[in-house]
């Protein structure tokens, strides 16, 4: 009798699906694995797509996934992948070498930020079937760090009637209500097993609720309605650390930064004398040395950041130039430098050689409390040396328009997210001809000597796979950027996450995704143990 009751209880409990709940900041723009460019789409892609290899977020080294092993040849331009056998897509369609070839063909056909990262010029890697379960991929040019690119390349089926909806990851899209949520269900054909041989993933469903409201998200987290928060704002983290200390995880310095830059574009519709200030490295360095980065980190970021150094954060131990340190706060020295350059500090402010009051505006995006605090503190700091700063918060599309189209802005405070570990991922930022060379994009030829030098170094480091040589060249780039300060790096944020105590096995890493890189292993306590064996 007892056994029957237990069995019934077990079945009843087993009938309730185990759902892991997280929030997305915005609606994913696409579910197509090759078009996923922003965080929401990349989250879905990470959880649903199968890739030839996976970068272990903890060790940061590539591990076999759909490809059991691989071999490079031809100096690194060719890679031969040996695929696992007997695998299937989520709808049962067999996974074959043809699918890999098809995926690479799609990379050529589709234009997105992601496919551009695989593009060299206009060419993309070409894949050919070279054996029953073997595919050879040939890159057009040497691609150092190609493993990280392949880690993001979700395999698509050439034959499945579901098209790109057929996936090989641990989960698949089960339900989608636009603007509300996305439900990811278990992929019945997922091939990975755990140490005991049981099929993964351990949870039945991942529910991604779409909510832009961070206060709401943390409120629901406290009630247990949300289990993990991938990126927590500093003030929310601070509050949560006192209320639920066991739930917060600080993974250390991230790769990201918040930075301030001045508009140096020639076609900017701003007064010529202001453009002159912004183009003067003396001015930029003086501003940089008048900002109290320690205060920014302590107060604006609630102590959950380190002073900003340069394009690579100290958290990126592989690429960080150890010789660089954050600019020291030295306003008197800064004023001396400015005086030598013709500026004059009068009782009511700083004036340039032409008698103009030094005043400029900083635009940033509205609704971001951290940036508003940073800007307010910079405003106060620069006020000490007589510079008047006007803070302007704009909604994001308006901001984007000003900094990418009209160039109708003076200074901008933003942070670039999803910063790649490898400098090649930021090529378009450092090349003077790049579209995201924020202070003066799309230059026909380099406007200054130092930008020309950076161009040379960046192109050179992309042509070799020897890490030591690449680091040497990129170290020089970092030093130049530090000297010339086209970006004034303010702070490097920590990776702040929250994991509910009922969640087991979650790995918190500095690399994206921070809390669910091993989503298939995650369990929810108490409910996971009642699952019947499959």
């Amino acid at each position: 009798m007892k056994f029957l009751i237990l069995l019934m209880a077990g079945t009843l409990l087993a009938a309730d699906p185990v759902i892991l709940k997280m929030c997305l900041r915005s609606e994913p723009k696409t579910f197509h694995p090759l078009k996923a460019d922003e965080e929401a789409s990349e989250t879905v892609r990470f959880l649903t797509a199968g890739t030839l290899l996976k970068i272990n977020r903890k060790t940061q080294l590539p591990e076999p996934s759909l490809a059991a092993k691989w071999k490079t040849a031809d100096g690194g331009k060719t890679v031969k992948f040996e695929l696992r056998e007997g695998l299937q897509f989520s709808d049962g369609t067999p996974f074959t070498a043809e699918d890999v070839v098809y995926t690479f063909q799609q990379v050529a056909a589709i234009r997105s930020g992601f496919t551009d990262s695989l593009r060299q010029g206009e060419a993309t890697p070409v894949a050919t079937v070279t054996g029953k379960h073997e595919v050879t991929v040939r890159f057009a040019e040497l691609t150092p760090g190609w493993e990280r690119l392949i880690d993001g390349l979700g395999m698509m089926s050439a034959k499945s009637p579901l098209g790109e909806k057929a996936v090989m990851g641990a989960f698949m899209v089960a339900d989608h209500k636009p603007g509300q949520y996305i439900a990811l269900g278990r992929n019945p054909h997922y091939w990975v097993r755990d140490a005991q041989g049981k099929a993964l993933p351990k949870v039945d469903q991942i529910r991604l609720d779409i909510t832009a409201n961070r206060d709401l998200e943390v409120l629901r987290f406290k009630r247990g309605e949300v289990h993990m928060i991938n990126k927590v704002e500093p003030d929310i983290y601070q509050a949560l650390a006192t209320q639920m200390p066991e739930a917060v995880r600080n993974a250390g310095v991230s790769f990201e930064s918040e930075q301030l830059w001045f508009n140096q574009a020639g076609k900017a519709p701003i007064p010529a004398y202001k453009l002159e200030w912004f183009r003067s490295p003396v001015f930029r360095r003086a501003v940089s040395e008048s900002i109290q980065r320690a205060d920014l980190a302590k107060i604006a970021m609630k102590g959950l950041a380190v002073p900003g150094v340069g394009p690579v954060s100290p958290g990126n131990t592989v690429w960080f130039n150890q010789k660089l340190t954050a600019d020291v706060y030295a306003p008197t020295v800064a004023l001396e430098k400015l005086k030598k350059a013709g500026f004059q500090k009068k009782s009511d402010g700083l004036y340039d050689a032409g008698g103009h009051r030094v005043e400029f505006s900083i635009v940033t995006n509205a609704g971001n409390k951290t940036r508003e605090r940073l800007a307010a503190m910079i405003q106060a700091d620069l006020g000490e040396i007589g510079i008047r700063v006007n803070m302007v918060t704009l909604d994001f599309p308006s901001l984007l328009e000003r900094i990418t189209r009209g160039f109708n802005y003076e200074a901008c405070l933003l942070g670039f997210t999803n910063v790649d570990q490898d400098p090649n991922g930021q090529m378009n930022v450092w090349l003077s001809s790049g579209a995201t060379h924020a202070w003066s994009p799309n230059q026909a030829k380099p406007e200054t000597a130092w930008e020309a030098e950076i161009d040379k170094l960046m192109k050179a480091q992309a042509r070799t796979v020897v890490l030591a040589k690449r680091k040497e060249m990129f170290d020089r780039v970092q030093a130049i950027v530090h000297e010339q300060a086209p970006f004034l790096y303010l702070v490097h944020k920590n990776v702040l996450t929250a994991v509910h105590p009922s969640v087991r096995n979650s790995l918190v890493t500095v690399l994206f995704p921070h809390v669910f890189s091993n989503a298939e292993q995650i369990e929810l306590q108490g409910l996971g143990t009642y699952r019947t064996a499959r």
């Binding site: 003030d235 107060i299 505006s361 509205a366 609704g367 106060a380 909604d395 003076e410």
Partner: protein
Amino acid sequence: MKRLAAGLLIALALAMVAGQFLVPARYDQQFRESTDALPGGDHPLGTDELGRDRAARLLAGARVSLLLAPAASVLAIALAAMLGLSAGWFGGWWDRVVTTLIDLMISVPIFLVLITARAVLPLNVSPISSVMITFLLLGLLGWAGSARVIRGACQTHLNSDYILRALASGSSRTRILLVHLLPNLWPVLRTQFILAVPGFILDEANLSLLGLGVAEPLPSLGSLLKELTHLPSSANWVGLAAPALLLAITVGAFEFLLPPKEGAS
């Protein structure tokens, strides 16, 4: 009661003017050693997260909002009165035009206009100018609701007995307008004005909640009200609630000051 209300408002006005002497700190001065401080010592209401004195910011914010919101209301009610009255009075095609305009103003998403206006503002306007422009816009866009009410009241009065009697007894239309209609509509205008003032302060606060309010570092009552969102996790509830209390007292005092509406006669 009226004397109490009047007294309160005068005290408030004095405090706003003499504020600098009562609270020596400037509203934008960041005391970085004592952020999020509780009330006491140098800071009677504590400090905010950047170390700025809350009392100083409250006085500055009150100055901004309590001067500009009534100004915006005057603008809005003046527009509403012109359009609503003329629509009710003249009727016919003009009434139709005005009604269409009112419907349009009400249906178009106002925050879109505000977002757009904010985005096309030149970048280097001083914070005080940006505040004035925000309230100006709110006034220019906020007349539609009141116009509707005024038009409705106008129509009601025009159809009532005493007006018909005046017409029948041969009074000129101008005389009816000035002597009979306007004095009776005055209470409506007054009510709308009183309702509009806190309404505009709150509109500015809601814009702040969306991040599109007054430019830093200038505070307004609206942006200070926004900080109430920290109430659950902060110990300084006096400092956080002070702006709301001030607004409530001011609005309440306003209401008490105005005499009760006379009946139609």
